[in-house]
Structure formats: structure tokens, C-alpha cells
Amino acid sequence: MTKLKESKSYKVFKVVNTILMILISAATLYPFLYLVAQSFSSEAAIYAGKVTILPVDFTASTYLSVLSKGEFILYYKNTILYTIFGTIISVMLTAMLAYPLSKPKLRLNKYIAPFIIFTMYFGGGLIPNFVLMNKLGLRNTVAAFVIPGLISTYYVLLMRSFFAGMSSEIEEAAEIDGLGKGGVFFKIILPLSKPILATMTLFYGAGYWSNWFSAFLYLDDKSKWPVAYYLRQIILGATTTSEVGANDAASAQIAANIRSCSMVLMVIPLLIVYPFVQRYFVQGMMLGGVKE
């Protein structure tokens, strides 16, 4: 088989393209490498500005002290719990809402859908939400962290168009074979929807993982904090003191190293999970986003 000869301009394009891509990758990778390098460097080296992409005076002592500190582990555990349960419930509920909405023969859909879409454009606002949670007695409970963001309208729409694209014959066949509506949904539809489910899991999961705002609003009790909020405390604690020059030697002492360590620890799980879900992720986006 003879190889097609590449034209000169295509070769130039390939070279330029490769260089450009390398540059872009370097630009996106550098901050992360810098963070990792910093997290493993000694304070003296950091303060002297010697750290670039490789650790200087390698030390893992900050990691050890962060990980041996009870609170970090506690916040980490909280985050994992919130993320796992939150994501499972969110994905389930979203699918259960999207599925009937995708059936054009259900006439009420026409009237119910606007109510759901309405929430995309208008929200109650911060203070009414806060008052509501308070009155419901949910403040300072895990429910306050999870419930307000349980279903995202955007994801419902994404899932609805995915379901709408599935052939109805298969459902009819299943019903003829004796399955009820619930059976069709759980035994036929869901197993066939892995790409969109994986996408939703990633979206919701990342959302829960990095959500600090709900914790800021509703969780007064430190033992319920997720790690994202703790990280925010560390980062803000250091920057605000230097900005305002607050009179606290102790807060000025929060070393740069602790920040980078916490950030790395927080990012790692996402980095591990992402490559496995990415395959479905691209597929799912395409499937959900394109309407026939």
C-alpha cells in the first residue's frame, strides 16, 4: 500500500499545529506542575522564589501534617460522602424527571415543562433562599448542602433530549414481553443510557466536589464542612491578611505550602476519575446535545 504523499502546506500545518498544541498544553500544565512542585518544596525555597516546576529541597512534611491533622481528613470524608450520595440521588432524580418529559405523548408535559424551565431563568435570590432554609429547619444540616442543588434544569433538558432520541420500539417490545413502565425504565432505558448517565455523574460529582458556597450559606457547624470550604478558608486566610495587613502574626504564618498541598489533595480524585469517564463524557455530550 502506498502512503499518500503529504502536501507541503499540510506538513507545515502539522509542524505549526504540534508546536502550538505543545505551547497550549505547557501553558495549562505549568500552573499545576508549579503547584505540585511547591507542595513538595521547603518553605525557605518557596520564600526565596526558587521553585518553578521541580520541587526544591524536597519535603513531604506539609502533606504529612495536613493528613495527620484530624480536621482535614474529616472534611475530606464529608466531601466524599456528600459527593457519592449527592451524585447518586441527583442522577436518579434527574433521569426520573427527564424520562417522562421526553415522551411527547404525555400531553401534560407541555404545561409542566415551562415550570421547570422557568427555574433556569429566575431564582428566589440569596436572602429568600436563606430564610426558606431557616424556616424549614434545614440550616446546619447536610440536607441544606444537598437539596437546593439536587436537580439541575440544564441537565434535565440534556437528558430529556437523550431519551427522546431512543427508539420507542424497544420499549414497546419490552412492554409486550411483560414489563411495566417502571421495569422498562429501570431494566431497559437506564442500562442503555450509560453514556449520558456517566456524563451526568461527572457533572454532578464535580459540582458537589467543589461546592463551597452552600457550605458557606448553610453549614455553621465545622464538623460538617466539605473540604472545598476548608480550602477556601486556607486560601482566603492567607491572601486577606496580606492584603489588609491584618494584625495577626499567626494567620500570616499560614505557609504557602499548606495551600498548594491542600489544592493538590483536592484535585487528585478528580484527576483519577476523569480519564475513565471521559470516553462516555464526549459521547454523552454529543448524544444529549444534538436533537434529531
Binding site: E43, A44, G49, P128, R232, G237, D248, A249, S251, Q253
Partner: protein, 568 residues
């Protein structure tokens, strides 16, 4: 059929929305009692004693916001609160109102707006957003019930200072921390070993040197460093920190500007300055003094001394340059003193360098940049007045008066209990007992088995400890720090307080509308003049014109109009 259903659903939607708004309005509207009955009660009739001591006969609880600091997070073991309760029979209930320090202002505002405020709202720097809504009490109506507070105001003549926080109705809404004297804690730390080696007698010079004097000294130091091969001719030897992320030029410009009588950097505000002789306000950013001030600063850059990156660089980067010896000078405040030395110890090596906190130069005047004697303070929620009733409300104020403004209360909050955490020497000076050290009081740890008193018991925290007489404020300072403040008060003067200008809501809105683009313009020109991107001589008129086009004159007129109105 379809239409009917449509209508029905829309109606349901509207009804549910109305339902929402109803629940909103259920939030109790806070009203303020403006009439205050004079205190006629006889002390014996009260169920508490007040004054230098406060004690309630019956146990009471007051809710309070708490700004929880990550460096000394609150724990159940803290003796601070139990001691207060033991002494006064008052339980400070912070259980529902504890907020992480970093989110304190935002969440506090959210909770107050949602009707979830605590009675006592400490650690407040800016009360403006709460004044118009009626959520907080006009506290100046009640200060007459606070004996320690009023005595302090009278003794140190803080009347004019308090006027600066008055609103248009002539009342103020925050009980500020009161100080006998202002503190110029921001200045520069220099590498004294290099200054000595270069033959600069900074200890004599600092008494009355001007900025040119400092520049000459730094040029000498640089010449020495170049000769010794410590840096190149092209290197800058001064990279400043605290540049102010808003593009204002931060601390450095505040300090230098104040010595020229102009407002700049962190202190730029709306650029308005008061002329005592003419008894009127003027826009300081286009005056000849301002021109002199930017010209002087530009000379530092031009001479290759001040790094123009000082105005964009992060604090970490500029500190790094000081720690590794590239910079010979860096901004410092009292809490950074030990941090710098610890880091220099680790980068340059202990005893291989020297540092000195200098008194920074004078410009057109000898004033320090800091003249404020008011600190952050306490707001009182209108809810307290409503729920407690006036009599018990006054009782609460007397408790606040004791805790924040009496000698006894201040000492308890700062040092703990005599014999338990600290002891008093014959000359009256206080020292911690040997088993404690305290980050909050800058008293360093000397042995492994010592505990931080602040972390352990909560004393010396930021919510209670921030003001007082000169002696009270400085009783924990190290000798070096005390000696620095002595030098400042010997060599420099405190500027008189600018009179209050309290406009109506519309006035303030108008001021803000003019201020934002105008000050952005001033800041950007200022930095361009200093760094040399614009030529001061050639471009000055264009700059003045650009300010006029952004209504600087209108601002002056507005200010003077409000000022005359206030005087009446």
C-alpha cells in the same frame, strides 16, 4: 380545554410566587424606637451593678456574632466565655452566629438582612449598608448609659473623631473601638547591616529626613552593593509589597502621599482633602503638591532603586526578594516583624544580617499617615431593643460598656485572669505565666511545653482586643516595637482629623457615581507617572484635564455643599 389548563397552571404559578412573597414579609420588620426616656432609675432599684464592674443578679444570655479565626478556632474549653459568665452572670450565646473570619462580613450581612441577626454585632468595620434599612440601633442615642465609654471619650477628647462616623441624621450607628492615640504601625524595614556598611547613618537621618534623603541613602547602599558584587547596576534594590489589588498603589502610596498632604494609595478614597485655613474641601489629586509627590516617587524609579513592578507584583514575590537579599527595604507592620526575621533566618542565616524598623521620611509636613483613633466596632441589632425592651436593652449596653470599654473588661479579654494566665510586676507591667506564650500578643514561644494562651483559652483574640489607652494597647509590645513607636511619636506629628461630611443617600450615590471613574483615572495616571510611562512635565496638564472631564469640580462643590449644610 388547553387554554383552561394553561390558565389554571399560570394561576397556580402566580399563587405560589405570591406565597413566597408572603413568607418574605413575615420576616419581622425591625423598627426603631427613637424616643429615649431619660434614665431616672436609682441604682439600687436595678437588678445589676454597672460601671467599672458589671454584674447581673439574674443570669442573662445575649446572642452575639462571632468571627472565628482559623489561627485560633473556638473550642469548648475556652475559659474566655466561662470567665465572663462567672464575673457578670452574662452568657454570650454565639452558638447560632459563629462565622469563619474570612466570610464574616458577607455572611453577617446576609443574616442581618434575613432577620437572623444576633443582638450584638462585633468586629464591624463598615456599618453603612445596614443604616438605612433600620436593622441596627442608632447607638449614639444610648451612649449616655455607658459610663466607661463616655468617660473615655471625654478624657481623650474623641468628640471630633466620633463626628466622622455620624450619618446625615447626626447619629452614629456603631460603637467604635476607642484609642488614646493613633498608631503608625506601617513603615519600612531596612537591612541595617547593608546601610551600616555603606556608611549611611540612618538613626540620625530618620529624625527629619525627607524622601530625597532616603533616595540618596539608597543610592549609596546600591553603590556599595554593586562594588561588592552583591547586585548589578541594572538591578533594583527595593521591591515594595502591599500594592493594593485595586491598582491604587496600596501602602507605599498611602504613606508617601500623606506626607505631601494628598490622598493616595490605600487612603485615596475619593481624593478629597480638607483645607483648614480656608475651611473648605478640595480635590487633592490635581494640586501642585500631588505633582511634587509623584515627581519624587518617580525619582526612585529613575535612579534604579524602586522596582516599578512593586505596583503589580504579589506580596509573596516581593517578600521573596527581601528574604533572598535582592531587596534592602520592605514595608512592615507590627505583625510582620517576627515573620520577616524568621524567614530571613532561614534564607540568609541567623546573625548574618541586621534589620531595623525606620521612621519613614517627611514630605511637605511631618504628619504620619495614620491619624485615626477609632477602630472597628460593635453594632447593636434593632431586634435587641425590640425583644428585650428598653430597660433590659440598657442593661445589655452596660454589660457591653464593661466588657469592651472598662479597664477590667479589657484586661480580662486581653490577658486573661491574674494569677491564672498572667502576673503583674511591681512596675505594673504584665507578663504571661511561664507555661504560656501567645501569638496574639506577639509573645514568642520559648520552650516546648508552653501553650498558646489564645488558642487554649481564647484570650487576646481579635473580637475583643483592639483598643484602649496607649498603655493598654502597648502593654504587650516587645521593647523593639515600643522603641519604634517612641521614635515615631518623638519625630513626627499626628494630623488633625478631617471634619465629618455626611450626606444624604442621594448625595452618597452621587459621590460614588463620580468617584469610581475619577479615582480609577487618578490611580492609573499616578502609577504611569511614577513608573515613567508618562512624562510628568509634559503630560501633567492632560492629566488635570482628564480629571476635570470626570467631574472633579462637581465633586468638590458637592462636598462643600454638604459640609456647609452639616455645619448648620
Amino acid at each position: 380545554m388547553k387554554k383552561g389548563l394553561c390558565l389554571l397552571l399560570s394561576a397556580a404559578m402566580i399563587a405560589s410566587l405570591m406565597g413566597c412573597s408572603k413568607t418574605d414579609s413575615e420576616v419581622k420588620e425591625t423598627t426603631q424606637t427613637s424616643e429615649v426616656t431619660e434614665a431616672t432609675e436609682v441604682e439600687e432599684d436595678l437588678d445589676y451593678e454597672f460601671g467599672e464592674h458589671f454584674k447581673s443578679d439574674e443570669p442573662v444570655a445575649y446572642s452575639m456574632f462571632w468571627s472565628d479565626h482559623e489561627a485560633y478556632p473556638i473550642t469548648e474549653n475556652w475559659k474566655l466565655f466561662s470567665k465572663i459568665e462567672e464575673l457578670t452572670n452574662v452568657k454570650l450565646d454565639i452558638s447560632k452566629h459563629t462565622i469563619a473570619r474570612t466570610d464574616y462580613d458577607e455572611k453577617k450581612a446576609l443574616m442581618i438582612s434575613s432577620g437572623e441577626s444576633a443582638y450584638i454585632v462585633p468586629k464591624t468595620y463598615d456599618e453603612n449598608q445596614f443604616v438605612d434599612g433600620g436593622a441596627i440601633v442608632a447607638i449614639s442615642d444610648y451612649t449616655k448609659y455607658m459610663p466607661n465609654y463616655t468617660a473615655f471619650v471625654e478624657q481623650y477628647q474623641l468628640g471630633p473623631d466620633l463626628q466622622t462616623i455620624e450619618k446625615e441624621d447626626g447619629k452614629y450607628y456603631r460603637l467604635p473601638g476607642l484609642k488614646e492615640t493613633s498608631e503608625q504601625e506601617y513603615t519600612f524595614m531596612i537591612r541595617s547591616d547593608l546601610f551600616d556598611a555603606a556608611g549611611v547613618d540612618y538613626k540620625t537621618l530618620e529624625k527629619d529626613w525627607n524622601w530625597q534623603g532616603l533616595l540618596d541613602a539608597l543610592v549609596k547602599v546600591k553603590a556599595y552593593m554593586v562594588a561588592e558584587g552583591m547586585c548589578k547596576e541594572s538591578d533594583y534594590i527595593w521591591t515594595e509589597r502591599w500594592q493594593g489589588d485595586d491598582g491604587s498603589g496600596g501602602n507605599l502610596l498611602k504613606l508617601v502621599g500623606a506626607t505631601y498632604g494628598v490622598r493616595s494609595g490605600w487612603d485615596v478614597a475619593d481624593g478629597m482633602q480638607f483645607d483648614r485655613e480656608k475651611d473648605e474641601w478640595f480635590f487633592s489629586e490635581t494640586t501642585p503638591e500631588y505633582k511634587e509627590y509623584v515627581t519624587q516617587l518617580h525619582k526612585f524609579v529613575e535612579a534604579g532603586i524602586l522596582n516599578p513592578e512593586s505596583f503589580t507584583i504579589t506580596d509573596e514575590q516581593s517578600c521573596a526578594k527581601f528574604y533572598n537579599g535582592e531587596s534592602v527595604m520592605l514595608g512592615v507592620n507590627k505583625s510582620m516583624l517576627t515573620t520577616y526575621q524568621e524567614n530571613l533566618d532561614s534564607t540568609l542565616g541567623k546573625d548574618k544580617y541586621g534589620v531595623y524598623q525606620i521612621v519613614y521620611p517627611v514630605g511637605k509636613n511631618k504628619y504620619t499617615a495614620e491619624s485615626a483613633r477609632l477602630e472597628n466596632g460593635i453594632m447593636i441589632s434593632s431586634k435587641a431593643l425590640e425583644e428585650l425592651g428598653e430597660e433590659d436593652f440598657i442593661k445589655m449596653l452596660r454589660f457591653i460598656d464593661w466588657l469592651w470599654y472598662s479597664e477590667e473588661g479589657k484586661t480580662l479579654a486581653k490577658w486573661g485572669v491574674e494569677g491564672e494566665t498572667y502576673e503583674v510586676a511591681e512596675d505594673g507591667s504584665k507578663t504571661l505565666l511561664p507555661q504560656y506564650y501567645c501569638g496574639g500578643l506577639s509573645i514568642p514561644q520559648t520552650s516546648e511545653d508552653q501553650k498558646d494562651m489564645r488558642i487554649e483559652y481564647g484570650y487576646a483574640g481579635g473580637v475583643f482586643t483592639y483598643a484602649g489607652t496607649y498603655d493598654q494597647v502597648t502593654d504587650n509590645y516587645s521593647d523593639t516595637l515600643k522603641e519604634y513607636f517612641d521614635r515615631v511619636s518623638n519625630y513626627r506629628e499626628v494630623a488633625p482629623v478631617r471634619p465629618a461630611v455626611s450626606g444624604s443617600e442621594e448625595d452618597n450615590e452621587q459621590i460614588n457615581l463620580i468617584k469610581t471613574p475619577l479615582i480609577d483615572n487618578v490611580n492609573s495616571w499616578t502609577l504611569q507617572f511614577i513608573t515613567g510611562q508618562k512624562d510628568i512635565e509634559k503630560d501633567w496638564d492632560t492629566y488635570v484635564m482628564s480629571c476635570e472631564n470626570l467631574n472633579s469640580q462637581q465633586l468638590v462643590d458637592l462636598y462643600n455643599e454638604i459640609y456647609t449644610r452639616n455645619k448648620k
